[in-house]
């Protein structure tokens, strides 16, 4: 059965190749199983690299990613704080193409035909797959913040996909008048990088403390609690006393409206003039997951053992976009899930050994110079979900040496995970 199916796919692929592109045609006539991966971040790039590396050429791997230089969202807050350059966050796909033989297609995936098992792109290509891995990250929920939509992201940046938005936000913070106000509209759960908004507050405060010490930071937050709250609040009172005010849902932090033209933020009807307004709206799976018809609500539900879609056994969803259970939406999680998925996909397509799933996550955050904290957990696959097994978190009152070591460790992790993603 398996051989017949593959032979059939090979024929279909050859036909598609005639009006697709030369880059899709291989001399061996597509006898190999094909994996197509959409999204070249912590999930997609890792999955592409591991499948290509471990299959020793037995699987054709195509990675569809629109950007030629990928800027990591993780560590982009450190750019806002002046601890990293934007260049240091940029990564090319050259090694994946040159050393791993991955077919890197810089294009937008705009359609998935689950019956024909093809992906179409904005550039007009149709790319067949045996297994499709979607790792599209996040998009924003329309109308999540009253008064804001993507057309206002220049006046009020989200800066939650790293790159030009992050640079824009930093430029706006640097241009704030002395004593001005930086406002953040924080997102509701679940969202990418749970400590991210609060690490960002720390980094913005660090920059303002140096350049604009009378400035204020105002957070409108729809959540009662947030990740590493005790650690952040302790750090804020130590390093940035009197600068940061957070309005939670008990005081209307969940009832927010913005006016990008007037540069005002209304919290529970009380209007404040602000100089920078960082709107981080509610999130959902990257649009291609919705287009593929594998979402339920805002996210794509998956089976824990191999990250396969609960709606289509030939599609896997990684990282922020999937609903998997207990893991936070983080680059570390996506990288961890990608390796489990790569092992399972390779096993399904080539008969290689499939080892039991195991997952882990650690999130480091920087509060101020050499003041790093972390939280992490290990996870296992159960029938219902990816379930937490064990975890840890930094403690309030740790020594300066421990905090510095934690920060230095995070820098090492950045180098490690990006080597694991991009080779």
């Amino acid at each position: 059965m398996k051989l017949n199916r593959r032979a059939f796919i090979g024929t279909a692929a050859a036909a598609a190749g005639t009006f697709a592109a030369p880059l899709l045609v291989r001399a061996d006539g597509h006898a190999k199983p094909r994996v197509v991966i959409v999204g070249g971040g912590a999930g997609g790039a890792t999955a592409a690299r591991y499948i290509a590396k471990d299959s020793n050429g037995e699987i054709d791997v195509t990675l569809i990613e629109p950007t030629r230089t990928y800027y990591t969202c993780f560590f982009s807050n450190l750019y806002l704080g002046g601890f990293r350059t934007m260049d240091s966050l940029g990564h090319s796909y050259g090694t994946l193409a040159a050393e791993y033989g991955i077919n890197v297609v810089h294009d937008w995936a705009t359609g998935v035909d689950r019956d024909a098992k093809t992906v179409t792109t904005a550039g007009g290509y149709t790319i067949p797959y045996d297994r499709l891995i979607l790792s599209p990250g996040i998009d924003f929920v329309d109308g999540a913040v009253a008064g804001w939509d993507v057309s206002s992201q220049n006046a009020m940046p989200h800066a939650y996909k790293a790159g030009s938005q992050t640079e824009l936000l930093r430029a706006q913070i640097e241009a704030m008048p002395q004593g001005g106000t930086y406002a953040m509209v924080a997102p509701p759960n679940p969202f990418r990088c749970p400590p991210g908004p609060y690490e960002r507050i720390s980094m913005v405060a660090h920059m303002l403390k140096e350049n604009n010490p009378t400035a204020k930071i105002l957070i409108a937050d729809p959540k009662e609690k947030f990740s590493k709250q005790g650690l952040f609040e302790d750090g804020w009172s130590t390093h940035y006393a009197g600068m940061i005010e957070r309005v939670g849902p008990d005081f209307g932090g969940d009832n927010v409206e913005v006016d990008p033209n007037a540069m005002t933020l209304s919290i529970d009807g009380e209007v404040t003039n602000v100089d920078v307004c960082n709107v981080i709206p509610a999130m959902k799976a990257g649009k291609i997951a919705e287009i593929a018809g594998i979402t339920e609500g805002n996210w794509a539900p998956v089976n824990a053992a191999d990250l396969s879609s609960k709606m289509d056994e030939n599609i896997h969803i990684l990282g922020d976009a999937c609903a998997q259970g207990d893991m936070p939406k983080s680059g570390f999680s996506a990288n961890s899930q990608a390796k489990v998925c790569a092992n399972a996909v390779r096993g399904a397509l080539t008969g290689s050994t499939v080892f039991p799933a195991r997952f882990a996550n650690t999130c480091w955050s920087l509060i101020d110079t050499n003041d790093g904290v972390k939280v992490g957990a290990s996870y296992e696959a159960t029938d219902e979900k990816i379930a937490k097994v064990d975890g840890f978190i930094s403690e309030v009152g740790e020594s300066a040496d421990v905090r510095q070591a934690t920060f230095e460790e995070s820098v090492g992790w950045y180098d490690g995970i990006t080597a694991d993603m991009f080779g």
């Binding site: 290990s378 840890f392 180098d415």
Partner: protein
């Protein structure tokens, strides 16, 4: 003439300073105590062997990367090819900040900031150089183990293929190239050292929350598999 005299006196002072460091400045007894920070990886003394790091007998005035059979990092190989010799000055610079002297060294050590500490450690190490007969007839000073584990655990032969799969959990942070920058290198360790280190985390003897969590759910066989994989990783 006066400029020549100046030059001579500068040279003389530099030479004197070097002698002072080498023969007078360090307290070898104190250095022996400080060397405990090194002895997890390096042995020195009679019968010392290469472990996680190379043995340090005869290190003074030897070329870098010279311990036969030890697999050095690419960074150290480059430094050796560039002619690095372990003198008092280069050793001092290396143990002050290893990566600033040899970029991409696998030596995962933050460095001795204090000049006196460095002088003392080097005074101790110097006992094991110059003249081989000066090496005391005692057991190796280094004790590579900070944790006792059962011999049957150490005897497990790991499956490197399984280790390769499991290594995905390690390589989210530790680089397969062996580069160490804030996160230690774990490549090319002797299996025994790797296994002991992982069990020390698993049993809570070594304090690091991420490593305790990661090691905590690895079985004895899985730890052996990882040790086998990372020992011979390309």
């Amino acid at each position: 003439m006066s400029s020549l005299r100046n030059t001579i006196s500068t040279v003389a002072i530099a030479a004197f300073a070097a002698v002072a460091h080498a023969d007078v400045g360090g307290d070898a007894e104190r250095g022996e105590n400080l060397f405990r920070q090194c002895s997890g990886c390096h042995q020195v003394g009679a019968g010392a062997e290469d472990r996680v790091g190379p043995h340090l007998n005869g290190i003074f005035d030897s070329p870098a990367g010279d311990s036969e059979g030890y697999r050095y990092s690419n960074g150290m190989e480059r430094a050796a090819a560039g002619g690095l010799i372990w003198t008092y000055e280069t050793l001092d610079a290396y143990i002050k900040d290893p990566r600033s002297l040899v970029s991409q060294t696998r030596m995962s050590f933050g460095g001795f900031d204090d000049q006196q500490d460095r002088d003392d450690v080097l005074a101790f190490l110097r006992r094991f150089s110059d003249n081989p007969q000066d090496i005391p007839e005692s057991a190796p000073t280094a004790v590579a183990v900070d944790h006792e584990i059962a011999p049957e655990i150490l005897a497990i032969v790991g499956d490197p293929a399984y280790g390769e799969y499991l290594s995905g959990e390690c390589t989210a942070c530790h680089q397969t190239s062996g580069a160490a920058n804030g996160i230690p290198s774990i490549t090319h360790w002797p299996s025994e050292d790797f296994v002991i280190a992982m069990h020390a985390y698993k049993d809570g003897v070594r304090q690091h929350p991420v490593m305790q969590m990661m090691a905590g759910r690895l079985s004895n066989e899985e730890i052996a598999a990882l040790a086998a994989y990372f020992k011979d990783i390309e």
